[in-house]
Amino acid sequence: MKEQDENIENPLGKLNKEHPFYVPENYFETFADRLKSRIEDEEKSGRKKTLYFYLKPALSIAASIALIVLLINVPLTKFPPSNQGYLSQNQPSKDSVDSDGVIPVELITYFTEGQFLSAVSEMNELDKRKLSPDSLGDYIAANYNDYEIIANN
């Protein structure tokens, strides 16, 4: 049975079993040379691809960082936050605040009015004295009891 399967007679009767296709003249004689030049071309382009392949991650990271910097920097320089603009228009600059001994306005929002006034008076008192280790020790001894000093440490 196996023999019969392998040695099939032409199951389609009188049909010609020869394949009716042919190839251009000298096709097989020249095929190896054409193949060789194509392989050489592919290897050249492959080398170029390899260089790009290795540079690609570094280029991607550099481009991403540049984009992030740009996205952060441009809005901050072109469109500053509105409250900062208001302060810069209505309040002295930070430098003048420091040099004039004026408390920065931002700090005021963290205190109630009473806390703010006592802090200012304490600071003014401290300013009046020349700060030395001895005078600081005298100030603490005069204004705080032992319990407050231990609790704050």
Binding site: D5, E6, L15, K17, P20, V23, F28, A32, R38, I39
Partner: protein, 184 residues
């Protein structure tokens, strides 16, 4: 695997001898591979492209050839897969509403200038284009190349029984196609 083939494989895997061995490989198998591919895709130009692709794959991957089959089987397997992938791509990239590969093959056959068969041979080829992919390959390998089922089984990685069934159905369908065509 005979001694010559073992030596050829060893040379293909050796960087110093690879190029010479590859030339031998190309010369040895180019015709058989060409006709195997041509029967699947029909058209000469497509066959030429695919055959080159097959050898380029072999050139790039021969170091990884595990030698659990013969070179002949390995090459034929690559050629079969490349040919089928090519037909799938043609179907995907077609701008026409071409649902069947058989339509592409029939067109290729009609436009192929390297066809010199008579009318009945052309009808047989048209009937072959109507077969499902697997049956078409099995029919060509058995009918025209008279390849043994055992060898076909290794190339197509299909059981001998399934191949016999595929060939049987292919013959039946071709007979029906030719009979209907005769009645017209």
């Amino acid at each position: 695997m005979d001694l010559n083939e073992k030596e050829l494989i060893a040379n293909l895997k050796s960087s110093g001898k690879k190029e010479g061995a590859f030339q031998v490989l190309v010369k040895t198998y180019q015709e058989r591979l060409y006709w195997h591919i041509r029967k699947i895709v029909m058209n000469h130009d497509d066959t030429d492209d695919i055959l080159q692709n097959v050898y380029i794959k072999v050139w790039k991957n021969v170091e990884g050839f595990r030698e659990d089959s013969t070179l002949f089987t390995w090459l034929f397997r690559i050629a079969t897969n490349e040919s089928l992938s090519f037909l799938q791509k043609q179907r995907r990239h077609s701008v026409f509403s071409m649902n069947e590969i058989s339509e592409y093959l029939a067109d290729s056959l009609e436009s192929d200038v390297y066809f010199d068969g008579d009318e009945i041979q052309k009808k047989l080829q048209l009937a072959i284009t109507k077969l499902p992919e697997k049956q078409r390959i099995v029919f060509n390998m058995k009918y025209f190349d008279e390849m043994k089922y055992e060898q076909m089984s290794q190339i197509l990685q299909t059981s001998v029984g399934a191949l016999k069934a595929s060939f049987h159905f292919a013959v039946k369908k071709i007979e029906e196609f030719l009979e209907e065509d005769h009645k017209k």
